[in-house]
C-alpha cells in the first residue's frame, strides 16, 4: 500500500524496512504523514515523491531564501529586552515591598516610642505632669524623628494616640493607659480608721499584708460562730496609730463627670427626631434623645459600633441581644439599665441617678454615676472595667452605693468617692457591698464603708469595714469573706489618680488607620479614627 502510493526507490525501502514496519499503523493517515515519515526515517528528501498540495506549500516556504533577518533580529532583541526588563522590575518590586515592610515596622515602633515618651512625661518628667493634655503635639523621639501625640481622658484611664512616620510610611497607634498599683495596693486590706481592731470570724481568710489600727487583728464570735481558720492573716499586720488615707486624686474623674453633665446640657443640636430608628445604621457620632431611650437590637448580628456618644435626658434601657462595641459613650440624665444578656465592650456609661446591670450582661467598660451602681444576676464586668460612684450629699446624708450581688464578677476597680474620708458609724447609704457569692478581681477603694462577704482577689482600701447581722452593726468585722492579694494577676493596672507621681503603663493597644478608613485592631476588631 505504501509502495503503491509513494513510489519509493527499492534500495531505500529495503534499508528502512524495519522502520516502516514499526510505524505501519500510520500509513493510512494521509499523504502529509507519509511524506513526513519518509523525510524523517529515510533521512533524505526524494524529489520524485508525490507531494500533497499543503506539503508543497510548506516545502516552498522552507526553501524560500528570501527572509527578514533584520526584522526577526529586532523582534528577538525586543523579546530579550522585555524579559530582562520584567526580571529587573520584579527584583525592584520585591525590594520595594521589603523596604515598605521595613518602614511599616519602624513606623509602628516609632509610634510605640511616642506612647512611651508620653507616659514618661505624664509621670512627671520633662517638665510635664499627669495633667498634660497635648492635642496633635509633636514630641521629639530620636535625632530626627518625631511623633504627633494626643492625650484624652477615657473614663478613668487616659487614651494616648501617637502617629509617627518612617520615611514615607505613617502609622498611628492608640493606647489606653492605666496606673501601676502604689504601695497601698500591695496590701490585702488597708483600713483607714484606727478606732477599732479588725475582727475576723467564721470562715474568713486574708492572704497578704494588712494595715489596721493599733489594736491589730483579733478573732471574734457572731451568733455563736467562732473563727475557724488557722491564721488570722496569712501575711504581715501593720499597726498604725494615726489614720492612713492612701492618696487619691479624683480630679480626673470629676473632669469626666463634668464633661458628661455638659453633654446633657448641650445636647439640643444632636437631637434625634424620629422615635423608632435603627441605631446601628445611624452614622452620626453624637445622638441625643429627649425622654427615655430603649436600645434593643434583638439580633446578635446587629451591633452599635463607636465612636459614638449617645445621650438621653432621662433613662436608657439596653437589653436583648444588643451589642454595643468600641468607643461608645452612653450618657443618661436619669438611670442606665443594662439587662437580658446585653454585651457592651470598650464603652463608658455615665448616668446621673444610677446604673443597674443584670440578667447575665457582659460589660468591658466603665460605669460612672453620681447615684447607686448595682450589679446583679450573674453580670460580669471584664478587665479593665471601672465602677466609679461619686456619693452626693442630700437630706443630711451622703448617698452613693456600689452593690455586687448574685454571683456578679468584676475584674477591675471599684471606687466609692465621697470627696473625703468619713467614718460615720451607722450610715450604710455610702458603701461598697460585696455579697457572699460576688467576686472582685482587682481593687476596691472606698472612702467610706465596705461590707465584704464575698471574694476579693486583690486589695481593699476602705475607711472602715461594715457588717450588719440583724439587729447589730459590727464595725471592722469580716465574716466568711476571702481576701487574697497573692492571686491578683501581675500587671494589673488601676485607673489614674492613686499616686501624685503615677507610674503608668499600657492596658490596651489598637492600630488606627490614618485616613479615616477602618483597619483591624490588635485585638482583631475594627478600629476607626
Amino acid at each position: 500500500m505504501y509502495a503503491n502510493s509513494c513510489n519509493l526507490g527499492q534500495t531505500v525501502e529495503m534499508k528502512h524496512e524495519k522502520n516502516f514496519k514499526s510505524v505501519g499503523s500510520f500509513l493510512s493517515v494521509g499523504d502529509i504523514e507519509l511524506w513526513v515519515i519518509n523525510l524523517l526515517f529515510m533521512n533524505r528528501f526524494d524529489s520524485n515523491m508525490p507531494r500533497p498540495h499543503a506539503l508543497c506549500a510548506l516545502r516552498s516556504a522552507c526553501n524560500n531564501t528570501q527572509g527578514s533577518a533584520l526584522v526577526l533580529a529586532l523582534v528577538m532583541v525586543t523579546i530579550v529586552t522585555g524579559m530582562i526588563g520584567i526580571i529587573m522590575m520584579a527584583v525592584q518590586l520585591q525590594w520595594r515591598f521589603i523596604r515598605e515592610e521595613q518602614n511599616r515596622i519602624q513606623a509602628l515602633y516609632l509610634a510605640e516610642a511616642g506612647v512611651y515618651k508620653t507616659l514618661w512625661y505624664l509621670s512627671g518628667n520633662g517638665g510635664k505632669d499627669i495633667g498634660w493634655r497635648p492635642e496633635n503635639e509633636l514630641v521629639e523621639l530620636f535625632d530626627d524623628e518625631t511623633a504627633s501625640i494626643t492625650v484624652k481622658e477615657w473614663g478613668g484611664y487616659l487614651r494616648i494616640t501617637s502617629t509617627a512616620q518612617a520615611r514615607h510610611v505613617a502609622k498611628s497607634l492608640r493606647a489606653l493607659a492605666g496606673e501601676m498599683p502604689s504601695s497601698a495596693f500591695q496590701q490585702a486590706i488597708v483600713i483607714g480608721g484606727v478606732d477599732y481592731p479588725l475582727v475576723v470570724t467564721g470562715r474568713n481568710r486574708i492572704i497578704g499584708n494588712v494595715t489596721v489600727g493599733p489594736e491589730g487583728v483579733k478573732k471574734g464570735r457572731i451568733k455563736g460562730r467562732d473563727f475557724d481558720g488557722e491564721n488570722l492573716v496569712d501575711g504581715k499586720i501593720d499597726r498604725q496609730n494615726k489614720p492612713q488615707r492612701p492618696y487619691f486624686n479624683s480630679a480626673l474623674f470629676h473632669n469626666v463627670l463634668q464633661k458628661y453633665l455638659l453633654v446633657l446640657a448641650d445636647s439640643a443640636k444632636h437631637l434625634l427626631q424620629s422615635n423608632n430608628v435603627v441605631l446601628s445604621q445611624i452614622q452620626d457620632e453624637r445622638i441625643h434623645v429627649e425622654g427615655d431611650l430603649h436600645i434593643n437590637l434583638n439580633d446578635s448580628t446587629q451591633k452599635v459600633r463607636g465612636p459614638k456618644r449617645i445621650s438621653s435626658s432621662k433613662n436608657v434601657l439596653i437589653n436583648g441581644a444588643t451589642q454595643i462595641l468600641d468607643n461608645v459613650e452612653l450618657v443618661a440624665g436619669g438611670k442606665i439599665i443594662v439587662t437580658d444578656h446585653a454585651v457592651l465592650r470598650n464603652c463608658v456609661l455615665f448616668a446621673r441617678t444610677g446604673i443597674e446591670v443584670s440578667g447575665e450582661s457582659q460589660i468591658n467598660g466603665q460605669l460612672l454615676s453620681t447615684g447607686d451602681i448595682i450589679l446583679k444576676e450573674r453580670s460580669v464586668l471584664h478587665y479593665p472595667s471601672v465602677v466609679y460612684c461619686r456619693s452626693t450629699f442630700a437630706d443630711n446624708a451622703w448617698r452613693g452605693r456600689i452593690l455586687l450581688q448574685d454571683q456578679t464578677v468584676v475584674r477591675g476597680t471599684l471606687i466609692l468617692d465621697s470627696g473625703q474620708w468619713k467614718r460615720s458609724k451607722e450610715n450604710n447609704e455610702t458603701i461598697v457591698q460585696i455579697t457572699p457569692n460576688a467576686k472582685v478581681v482587682g481593687a476596691v477603694y472606698s472612702m467610706h464603708n465596705t461590707e465584704h462577704r464575698g471574694q476579693v482577689i486583690g486589695s481593699i482600701i476602705t475607711g472602715q469595714v461594715f457588717l450588719y447581722e440583724s439587729p447589730t452593726i459590727y464595725l471592722n468585722w469580716l465574716q466568711d469573706a476571702i481576701t487574697d492579694r497573692a492571686q491578683l494577676p501581675e500587671g494589673f493596672l488601676l485607673p489614674i489618680g492613686f499616686s501624685a507621681q503615677p507610674q503608668l503603663d499600657v492596658l490596651h493597644w489598637e492600630e488606627v488607620k490614618l485616613n479615616g478608613e477602618r483597619e483591624m485592631g490588635r485585638n482583631g476588631d475594627e478600629v476607626k479614627e
Binding site: G67, M76, I79, Q94, W95, W120
Partner: protein
C-alpha cells in the same frame, strides 16, 4: 552554499530593508528556539541570583531585627548585647544598644552582614525604665 554566502553578504546597492536574501524560516525558528532555550533559563537563574542577593538578605535581616526587638521588649532585657547568628547560608551580626535618657530607655536593634560596617536594618523604639 552559494545561496548562504549570498544571504550573508548584502549587496551594496540594495537598501537593507529591501534585501531579499535572508535566513530560511526553519533556520530562523531553530535559531530562535536555541536562543530562547538558553536565554529563558539563564534569565530565570540570573533573576533568582539577583533576588537572593538583594531582597533575600533584606528580608532575613528585617525578620531577625524584628524578632530581636520583640524578644528584648518581652523579656525587658535592657542591656547592650552583640551576637552572631547563623541563618540560612549566612552569618549575621546583631547588636542591641540601650541608652538611658533620665528613665526613658532608647532601644536600638541593628542587623549587619558579616564584615559590614553599615547595618542592613535598624529598628529603634522607647520604653519607660521599669
Amino acid at each position: 552554499m552559494n545561496d548562504l554566502q549570498n544571504s550573508m553578504t548584502p549587496t551594496i546597492h540594495q537598501p537593507i530593508l529591501k534585501q531579499n536574501d535572508g535566513y530560511t524560516l526553519v533556520e530562523t525558528l531553530v535559531a530562535s528556539a536555541i536562543l530562547l532555550g538558553v536565554l529563558i533559563p539563564a534569565a530565570l537563574f540570573l533573576g533568582k541570583i539577583t533576588m537572593s542577593q538583594y531582597s533575600h538578605d533584606l528580608l532575613v535581616a528585617t525578620q531577625l531585627a524584628r524578632e530581636e526587638m520583640e524578644k528584648t521588649l518581652i523579656a525587658a532585657s535592657y542591656q547592650d548585647e552583640e551576637k552572631l547568628m547563623d541563618f540560612g547560608k549566612r552569618r549575621w551580626r546583631l547588636t542591641r544598644a540601650i541608652e538611658n535618657q533620665s528613665g526613658l530607655l532608647v532601644i536600638r536593634i541593628k542587623v549587619f552582614k558579616p564584615n559590614s560596617v553599615n547595618p542592613l536594618v535598624e529598628f529603634k523604639t522607647m520604653r519607660v525604665q521599669p
